[in-house]
């Protein structure tokens, strides 16, 4: 069989066998538990508008830790990272595209019983 003439991306992709011990996993797990306690403690308090962004921020930090370390994305090939990041980008596109609609709709077009839009009266 012919040799690979171009450097195989696979070479960078294989996570190092035993390159690091279990300490890293345990540390991440501990941080995740701390973050969970934090979000539970702050979530049920009434902090006004801060609640939502705070909860989402903590969730994002937890998710990042899981993706980088439990799922080994920190050692993974570029293509894998690109795939995951792009799918997240499109999720945000979907949510913000729809939100652009909701925020700026005229009040008459909103479902009955819902508060009027935050955006300008159109």
């Amino acid at each position: 069989m012919a040799q690979d003439a171009h450097p195989s991306p696979a070479a960078k992709d294989a996570p190092h066998a035993g390159g690091h011990g279990i300490g890293r996993y345990i540390a991440v797990w501990a941080i995740l538990l701390v973050l969970t306690i934090t979000t539970v403690a702050t979530g049920r308090q009434d902090l006004g508008w801060v609640n939502l962004p705070l909860a989402l921020t903590i969730a994002c930090i937890k998710a990042t830790l899981v993706v980088l370390f439990f799922m080994h994305m920190s050692e993974s090939a570029g293509a894998n990272r690109l795939v995951f990041v792009v799918s997240l980008v499109f999720v945000l596109v979907m949510i913000f595209g729809v939100f652009g609609d909701l925020w700026t709709r005229a009040p008459m077009t909103l479902p009955s019983g819902s508060p009027s839009t935050l955006g300008p009266e159109l």
């Binding site: 992709d13 294989a14 035993g18 390159g19 797990w29 979000t39 439990f70 993974s76 499109f90």
Partner: protein, 224 residues
């Protein structure tokens, strides 16, 4: 071609690795890369699948802010937090199981997989309690909603979203559990070694996705 990590495989493990080379791939490096890329692509599709439901949550939360806030208070924060801790721990155990198999500790790996699967069962049992409570109280989706305490607009929608998101998530827990059981069966039969372990890796990746979805579901449904 041996793998590129600093600790090269022993000849026996390298031979085991090469045994699994499919005829249409040139090298095991390429095959492993391909399989991992495929798994990440699949995880990408799962992210977009749940995205639609998160969109539904966001939209109706925006429309019915008060009612959603009220309704989320009816969820048990104890059970929800327990489930979160259970899933995060199961993520740890499955990651450790992968590490164990990769470093030749098959027995430890099997034990950790069993713990992971038990955690999954625990999650489902707790979920079952929560669902049961909701059926009793009448906190049901759509036309079945008859919980007298919350009657604001959008109340039934909250529980529609609740059951759809947690239901789809629970379905994925079951699928993930089945995958891990299959991986465990193969591990017990001696299929894996430091030379060949990527099915364990892929099963673990799927399980981590299940955990990831819950990391977002939990605060959005239970807390805020």
């Amino acid at each position: 071609m041996s793998s590129s990590d600093a600790h090269a495989l022993s000849p026996a493990h390298e031979a085991d690795r090469q045994r699994h080379l499919a005829h249409h791939f040139d090298t095991m490096d390429t095959q492993e890369y391909a399989v991992r890329l495929a798994m990440w692509l699949f995880l990408g599709t799962e992210v977009l699948l749940f995205a639609g439901l998160f969109l539904g949550y966001t939209v109706y939360r925006h429309f019915y802010h008060e009612t959603f806030h009220e309704a989320s208070r009816t969820l048990s924060i104890v059970l929800g937090t327990t489930n979160t801790i259970v899933l995060i721990t199961s993520s740890l155990t499955v990651a450790l199981a992968y590490w164990a198999v990769k470093t030749g500790k098959n027995g430890l790996g099997a034990f950790l997989l069993v713990v992971t699967i038990l955690c999954a069962c625990g999650f489902l049992v707790i979920k079952g309690f929560e669902y049961h409570h909701k059926f009793e109280e009448g906190m049901l989706p759509g036309q079945f909603y008859h919980y007298a305490e919350i009657t604001g607009p959008g109340a039934n929608l909250y529980f529609t979203i609740y059951f759809l998101t947690t239901g789809l998530h629970a379905f994925h827990v079951i699928v993930g559990m089945s995958v891990l059981i299959w991986v465990l069966a193969r591990l017990l039969k001696g299929h894996f070694s430091p030379g060949y372990y990527y099915p364990v890796e892929l099963g673990a990746l799927y399980w981590h996705l299940v955990d990831l979805v819950w990391i977002f579901l939990f605060p959005l449904l239970y807390l805020i």
